[in-house]
Structure formats: structure tokens, C-alpha cells
């Protein structure tokens, strides 16, 4: 019996101390949207209701265990069944549940109203990265984890944002209603940022809706939350929320870059330029499967010294643009532009001692895409 008491006290102390030790990062974040704050309140309300019920029930239980020990000479009573008690312990919980369901329903109705959005962003899950498209702005880009493999394997000290950093964060304006349209190119993913209280599955063949109105500028991090294959742990979500002015500046820069790139399709590109751009694209899009050094892994073939690819440049272009059926190799023609495609193909044909000397020009790819 003393052990029971010791255990109860010990566990109780542990649970009470945990919050003190983990002032940050042991509870649901309050977040930076009205919805996230509503959800946090619901969460805490139901939590405290559970705590109160738990304290009452366990108090009666442990009191009985302590008070009615046979070793202390307790004689068993014989009572059983009591309609009043049984009706009470059915109806009181029912009333508590109704009390809980009302605010939950109200919050859910708010969450399910994506009308009147100022900005639409298409979010596409891909093994294992996110693709963002600003629907009214003609801007799109891929967002991949930027934590290097050396940190994952412990060869380098892990950064604070370990596994939660990307090359191109999603940039959004604050105080604007942003509607997300979510889908997937392959398996089911789930796009989640705890501080925004947005979690929505991205399902191939479906377009799901969700929305957010961020109240504070900042960088908000999350992860894919639906098992999507080997690198499920390595597709973070990073949202960079900015004031309207900063956002518009960022938007203008992005547009300019995109325009410059579009204009540069027709000119002749130098090998060095293509290699530099290609390395960037490769690191962001290809390296998760084919590895930084092109050595491949598991079902993903090595690209370094890959004869099928090196012998036939047309096959190589076709594989990257249209994918390879019957394999996990996806079609990138829809996600990357001509410059990116040309540069990454050139890079793959010349990096890691492949040294074919082949240069694939963006203009060639552009023709193919059209």
C-alpha cells in the first residue's frame, strides 16, 4: 500500500513538474491566428474538465483502496445496483459533453468558412517536398528541406532549425485571409503548421480547402503529418509571414526573377551558368532520392556513371520531363521551368565525373514543353 501511495505521489509530482521544466514546447502552441487561439482554449477547457473528472474518480477509487483493505479488517458490504446513482452518472457526463460540443461546433463552423479570401495558394505535396503556386500572381516554386545530410548523420553539429528549415519558405502577408488549396502528385501528405492551426491532408485526385489569417509577422514551422514514404520526416513546412509592404516587395522581386528567367530561355546559356543553377535545383529537388553525390539509394538508381542516362540524352530529358512509368521517378515538366530543367539535366550529365560535356539549352526544353 505504501508503494501505491509513493507511486501516486511520484507520478503526480512528475506531471506537475513537467510544465515547469518545459516552459516551451510541452503543450499545444497558442498560435498566431484567431482560430489557433480558439482551438487552444478548447483544448485547455476539455483538458481541465478531464482533470477534474479524473481527480474525483481517482479520489474515490484510491480512498476505497486505502480505506477498505482487508488487511485492516474491512468487511465487505453487499450493496449493488442503485437506479438513482446510475441515472446520475449517465446524465451528468452527457450534460458535460453537450457543454463541450457547443463551443467546439462554433469553432468548427468558423474553420469551415474559407469565403472572402484575399489570396489563393495552391499547395501540392510531392515525395518529399512542397510545391507552392500563388494562383493570381503567376508565381510558383518548390520548397525542400535544407538541413544537410551531414547533420542528420551526426557528422556536423545540428542547427536549431534541424529538420525544420527549407530552401524556399512560403511567404504570406499578415492580416490577409489566405486560402489554401491542397492536393498531391503522388501519395497522401498532410500540410501542418502548429502555430497556424492548419492541418489538411493533400490527397491525389482531390483538392482540399483550408485558410488562415495570420496576426503576427514571423517564421512558423511545421511538418508533413501523413506517412508518405521513406523521407516523411524530411519534408518540413516553413511559412514566412510578413507585413503587407514587405510581402509586396518580395512578390515584386519574385516576379522580376521569374520574368528574367522566362526571358533568358531563348538565349544561349554557358555551361558554367547551367552547372551553377543545376546544382541548386538538384539539391532542392533530386538529392532526397538520388543523393547529393549522385550515388542513389535503394530503389532510386545512381546517376553517377548511369549508362542508360549518359548514353542517350533524349531518354534523359524524357525521364526528367515526363517521369519514368513503373518507377517512383516523377514527371517534373509541370513543376520546373525550362531553365531549371535544362540546367539540372546539364548538371547531371557533367557532375560527379560524368563529364559528358553535353549542354542542354533551355530553348530546347522550352520547345519540348510547348
Amino acid at each position: 500500500m505504501r508503494m501505491v501511495l509513493a507511486w501516486v505521489t511520484g507520478m503526480g509530482a512528475a506531471f506537475l513538474l513537467a510544465p515547469a521544466v518545459y516552459a516551451n514546447g510541452w503543450n499545444m502552441p497558442v498560435g498566431v491566428t484567431e482560430i489557433s487561439q480558439d482551438i487552444y482554449s478548447l483544448h485547455m477547457a476539455i483538458f481541465w474538465i478531464c482533470v477534474v473528472i479524473g481527480v474525483v474518480v481517482f479520489a474515490v477509487m484510491f480512498y476505497s483502496l486505502f480505506r477498505y483493505r482487508r488487511s485492516q479488517g474491512a468487511k465487505a458490504d453487499n450493496f449493488h445496483e442503485n437506479t438513482t446513482v446510475e441515472v446520475l452518472w449517465t446524465t451528468i457526463p452527457l450534460l458535460i459533453l453537450v457543454g463541450m460540443a457547443l463551443p467546439a461546433t462554433a469553432t468548427l463552423q468558423k474553420m469551415y468558412d474559407p469565403s472572402g479570401a484575399d489570396l489563393d495558394v495552391m499547395v501540392t505535396g510531392q515525395q518529399w517536398r512542397w510545391h507552392y503556386e500563388y494562383l493570381d500572381e503567376d508565381i510558383s516554386f518548390t520548397s525542400s528541406m535544407s538541413t544537410p545530410g551531414t547533420q542528420i548523420r551526426g557528422e556536423e553539429e545540428r542547427a536549431d532549425e534541424y529538420l525544420l528549415d527549407v530552401d524556399n519558405p512560403l511567404v504570406l502577408p499578415v492580416d490577409q485571409k489566405v486560402r489554401f488549396l491542397l492536393t498531391s502528385d503522388d501519395v497522401i501528405h498532410s500540410w501542418w503548421v502548429p502555430d497556424l492551426a492548419v492541418k489538411q491532408d493533400a490527397i491525389p485526385g482531390f483538392v482540399n480547402e483550408n485558410w488562415v489569417r495570420i496576426e503576427e509577422p514571423g517564421i512558423y514551422r511545421g511538418q508533413c503529418t501523413e506517412l508518405c514514404g521513406k523521407d516523411h520526416a524530411f519534408m518540413p513546412v516553413v511559412v514566412h509571414a510578413m507585413e503587407q509592404d514587405d510581402y509586396e516587395e518580395w512578390l515584386a522581386d519574385r516576379k522580376e526573377e521569374a520574368e528574367a528567367e522566362a526571358n533568358s530561355v531563348d538565349r544561349e546559356w554557358e555551361m558554367d551558368e547551367l552547372m551553377e543553377r543545376g546544382e541548386q535545383v538538384y539539391g532542392s529537388v533530386c538529392a532526397t532520392c538520388h543523393q547529393d553525390d549522385g550515388s542513389g539509394s535503394g530503389e532510386f538508381p545512381a546517376l553517377a556513371g548511369n549508362e542508360e542516362m549518359l548514353d542517350d540524352v533524349d531518354w534523359h530529358i524524357d525521364a526528367v520531363v515526363n517521369g519514368v512509368s513503373g518507377t517512383p521517378m516523377a514527371a517534373f515538366g509541370g513543376n520546373l521551368n525550362a531553365v531549371e530543367l535544362a540546367s539540372v539535366i546539364t548538371y547531371e550529365r557533367n557532375a560527379w565525373d560524368n563529364d559528358t560535356g553535353d549542354v542542354v539549352q533551355p530553348s530546347e526544353i522550352q520547345e519540348l514543353l510547348e
Partner: protein
């Protein structure tokens, strides 16, 4: 104490028949198959029960080793021991083996042993079918485990095997996985049919439905759940089989199919499945708590009705596993309300157990310790379940470690503790010896400490934002994961004590009388300990008894 024991003349009659039974047993087995054939060909419910329990125990350890691989990798951030592909195989196989190989067969084993004894029947209604149901299992799980050695590895898409990850993107071994699940499903359905036939047809004269022990009641309801939902599982994996091998597109959006349909079908099976794993546990705890409180269960009838309500509601809540899939508001609200409703009958059960303790005369033998721990920790799992039912909050909880904490609380200190409690409770009946109390206590306390160290911190890591099924995690989750891993190893290793208890108990120990626990009721305590191979060949006659339960 309620006079629930059969009257003296019945007792004498049954012990007379069992003595005769022992004599007959000698005749029966003279020249019967021996050695391995005895076990391959047995149609005896006690032997088959033992086979089920030993099978389940071995699966519990295999599934446990997979879990420890997972916990070892998660001990620290970074990838240390296994690659993500293998990690995913471990989480998947851990779930499949524990659900289908450990927990379900353990309950069927207990049903085989105890239901005929508790209803006064000589055996199960369909003894040969019983043999077949058991021997399907080693085939099914041999096949499933063999996928670990196949090219491309074992299934790696989680125990919920969502399409299209499991269909278009699954490893080649997926077809073997489907076949093994089909076989295990047939085994479950046949076992359920047998249990229903036994309970409905073979009760001792005078035992009405409302006289049956709660373990029998909960199993009767569980068996109907099994018959209702295992065919749905068979259907959904057959559709997968077609998608993978025969060019259909049930779940492939590219061919006009619907990946969300998979989830509806899976969870229409999957939610009743969770209750299949907990209802018999309720039955066990409802036997143990009155026995060691020496006081009748507070509300027998309301326990039966609560179990039936939970079973009916289990068909109306499956979408709560899919709240972030993108379903219409009306569907989310409906399934939120039905899910919250489940708290009512579940609460009734907990209140009943607690009230049974009130003004009892309580002792704390090992079966009671596990049953009490069940009540506390199952309730904690119930609370987190209630939190998960609140849809807006579920948008934050879904697919995080908070969910992992929740379902492990109801499955490990829930279902598994109840199974262990049942084993300690009935071991004197099975072996004729009491299990070693000292070892039992060590087993209990180490298990309680291990289980809470493992799963309680998962609430925190989940709320703080750690998704489930990841082999590597951000740095803020490191401390919680380290504690979980240490707890996991404590829990895993302390289960070896259970093996020690079992071996010791089979070999010897304090001799148990027919009624091994002074507060225990029910017919199984009227036959000698150990129960002879054949019991109740002449059924005990309960017709002359006063109403027992209420």
C-alpha cells in the same frame, strides 16, 4: 457476498463428473496422438486455448522487439541505427503483429480456455473448426514475418496501410501481406462463429443470458463485431490486391478511383476493431475487481448494456480517424457528436468498477494490481480519446504523438494489462499452482513504471508538434523521446519476468484449490485445479438456483 456459487449439490455433482472425467481422459488419450501430433490435431478447447496463448505471447515479444528497434532509433535525434525505409517497416510490422498477432489471439485463447468453463460446457461448439482457426494463425504470421526477408523489404506503409502509398507505391511484398491478413481474418471469423455458437447453445441448464459472467457477455458482443467487420477488411484488402495486380483503380485517382474510399472502408473495419481489442478486457476486469473486493459487481445489468451500447456506437464513429481528410462540415459534426457519446457508456463502466471497490474487503494480489492499473490508465487513455473527439482540437492533435500516447494507453495498460491480469487470475486454474506473488509484484511495478515512462511523455511531444511515424525529429523533442525510449526498454525487459512467472507456475508452486481466490465466483472455480482435460461432460444444473446476478 452474493451467493453466486452453485448450490452444494451442484458442486458435488460437477466435481464427481470431473473426477470421472479424469478417468475418462486417461482412456481417451490412451493411443491418441502423442508428441507434436497431439498439438497439431487437438480439438480440446483447453489445449487450443494454450496454443493460442503461447502463440500470442511469442508474437508479443516479436512485436515488442520491433518496437524497441523504433525506440532505440528515436533515443536521440539523427539517424543512428536504421535507415528510414527499415524504420517504416518496423513501425508497420510492430502495429500489425501487436494488433492481429498478439492482442486478438490472446483474447481468443482466453475465450477458448474460459468460456466453456464459465458457461458449464464440455468444450467449444465446433472443436475441429477450433483447431483449424488456430493453425491458420502460424501460417498467416509466418508469411507476414517472411516479408522482412523479401526484396524491397516488409510492408512499410503503417499498420493502417493507406492507399495509394500501399498500392501504387508499396513494396513487392504487399501482396504477401494481403494474403496473410486474409488468412488471419478467416481465423478470426471462424473463431468468432465458434464462440457465438458455444455461448448461445451450450450454456448449462438454468443459466440465462443475464446470468452469464461478464467475460462471456463481452466476448459474445465482440464476436458479433468480428463477424460484422472482418469481411470489410477482407473486402478492402482484396480491392488493394486488384489495384496492385489486376489493373483496377479502386483507390488510384489517376484511374478514376478514390484514395479516401480506402480510408472509409479501412476505418469502418478499424474502429470496431479497436473495441474488439478492449471489450473482452472489460470482461476480465469485471471478473477480477469483484473477486478481490469480495463484493458483487455494482451494476451487472448496466455493464451488459454499456458494452452493447459501445459496440453499436462503434459502427458510427469511424470518421473520427479522418477529421483532416477534408470532409464536409455536417459529417465532421455528426462524427464528433457520436464519438463524444462513447464517453457515456465507457464512463458507466469505470464508475461501476470504482463503486464495486467502495466498501469492499480488498486485497492486492497480482491479478488485482494489474486490474486496478488497468482502470486508472485506461481512464487516462479515455480522457485523451475525449480530447481527440473535439474536431477543432483534433486538427492540432491528428497524426502526432498525442495520438500515439492515446492509443497506447488504451492498448498497453489497457488491453495488454487486462490480458496479463487474466493470466495471473486464471493461472491457478490452468496449472494447479499459484503464480509467484513476489515475482508478480516485480513484474507489475516495473511494467507500470515502464509503461508510463514510455507513453506519458508522448502526450507532451505530440502537443508540442511531433508527427508520428518519423525516424528523426527536431531538437525540441529530444528529451521527451529519450525518456520514452528508456521507459520502453524498462517495459520490454520487465516482460521477461512474466516468462519467469509462467515457467515457475507451470513447474510448481503453492498448490491451488478448486476455488483458488476466496472471492472468485463463476463456474470455473467449481472444477478442480488444474482443470482436467475434460470438464462438465455432464453439465452442472443451475435451474434450481435463485437468480444470481440481480
Amino acid at each position: 457476498m452474493a451467493p453466486k456459487l452453485p448450490p452444494q449439490h451442484t458442486l458435488e455433482q460437477s466435481s464427481a463428473t470431473t473426477t470421472a472425467g479424469q478417468a475418462q481422459e486417461h482412456d481417451h488419450h490412451h493411443g491418441g496422438p502423442t508428441g507434436i501430433k497431439r498439438w497439431l490435431l487437438t480439438t480440446n478447447h483447453k489445449e487450443i486455448g494454450t496454443l493460442y496463448l503461447l502463440f500470442s505471447l511469442s508474437m508479443f515479444f516479436i512485436g515488442g522487439i520491433f518496437a524497441l528497434v523504433v525506440r532505440a532509433e528515436l533515443f536521440q535525434p539523427g539517424l543512428q541505427l536504421v535507415e528510414p525505409e527499415f524504420f517504416n517497416q518496423m513501425t508497420t510490422m510492430h502495429g500489425l503483429i501487436m494488433v492481429f498477432g498478439a492482442v486478438m489471439p490472446a483474447f481468443v485463447g482466453l475465450a477458448n480456455w474460459m468460456i466453456p468453463l464459465q458457461v458449464g460446457a464440455p468444450d467449444m461448439a465446433l472443436p475441429r473448426l477450433n483447431n483449424f482457426s488456430f493453425w491458420l494463425l502460424p501460417v498467416a504470421f509466418g508469411l507476414l514475418l517472411s516479408t522482412l526477408f523479401m526484396p524491397g523489404g516488409a510492408p512499410n506503409f503503417g499498420w493502417t496501410f493507406y492507399a495509394p502509398l500501399s498500392t501504387d507505391y508499396g513494396p513487392p511484398s504487399t501482396t504477401f501481406f494481403i494474403f496473410s491478413l486474409h488468412i488471419a481474418g478467416i481465423s478470426s471469423i471462424l473463431g468468432a462463429i465458434n464462440i457465438i455458437a458455444t455461448i448461445l447453445n451450450m450454456r448449462a441448464p438454468g443459466m440465462r443470458m443475464m446470468d452469464m459472467p461478464l467475460f462471456v457477455w463481452t466476448w459474445l458482443i465482440t464476436a458479433f463485431l468480428l463477424i460484422a467487420v472482418m469481411p470489410v477488411l477482407a473486402g478492402v484488402i482484396t480491392m488493394m490486391l486488384m489495384d496492385i495486380n489486376f489493373g483496377t483503380s479502386f483507390f488510384d485517382a489517376g484511374g478514376g478511383g478514390d484514395p479516401v474510399l480506402f480510408q472509409h472502408l479501412f476505418w469502418f473495419f478499424g474502429h470496431p476493431e479497436v473495441y474488439i481489442m478492449i471489450l473482452p478486457a472489460f470482461g476480465i476486469v469485471s471478473a477480477i475487481v469483484p473477486a478481490f473486493a469480495r463484493k458483487p459487481l455494482f451494476g451487472y445489468a448496466s455493464m451488459v448494456y454499456a458494452t452493447a451500447s459501445i459496440a453499436i456506437l462503434s459502427f458510427l464513429v469511424w470518421v473520427h480517424h479522418m477529421f483532416v481528410v477534408g470532409l464536409p462540415l455536417a459529417a465532421e459534426l455528426f462524427f464528433m457528436y457520436t464519438t463524444m457519446l462513447i464517453a457515456v457508456p465507457t464512463g458507466v463502466k469505470v464508475f461501476n468498477w470504482v463503486t464495486t471497490l467502495f466498501r469492499g474487503s480488498i486485497t492486492f494480489e497480482t491479478p488485482m494490481l494489474f486490474a486496478l492499473a488497468f482502470i486508472v490508465m485506461f481512464t487516462i487513455g479515455g480522457f485523451s480519446g475525449l480530447m481527440l473527439a473535439i474536431v477543432p482540437a483534433d486538427f492540432q492533435y491528428h497524426d502526432t504523438y498525442f495520438v500515439v500516447a492515446h492509443f497506447h494507453y488504451v492498448l498497453v495498460p489497457g488491453a495488454v494489462f487486462a490480458i496479463i491480469a487474466g493470466a495471473y487470475y486464471w493461472l491457478p486454474k490452468w496449472t494447479g499452482h499459484y503464480p509467484d506473488e513476489r515475482l508478480g509484484r516485480w513484474h507489475f511495478w516495473l511494467s507500470v513504471i515502464g509503461v508510463n515512462l514510455t507513453f506519458f511523455p508522448m502526450h507532451f511531444s505530440g502537443l508540442a508538434g511531433m508527427p508520428r511515424r518519423i525516424p528523426d525529429y527536431a531538437l525540441q523533442f529530444a528529451d521527451f523521446n529519450m525518456v520514452s525510449s528508456i521507459g520502453g526498454f524498462i517495459f520490454g525487459v520487465s516482460q521477461l519476468l512474466f516468462i519467469a512467472v509462467l515457467i515457475k507456475c507451470v513447474r510448481g508452486g503453492e498448490k491451488a484449490p478448486a476455488k483458488a481466490w476466496d472471492g472468485a465466483e463463476d463456474l470455473e472455480w467449481t472444477v478442480p485445479s488444474p482443470a482436467p482435460l475434460h470438464t462438465f461432460e455432464t453439465p452442472p444444473d443451475l435451474t434450481s438456483q435463485a437468480p444470481q446476478r440481480h
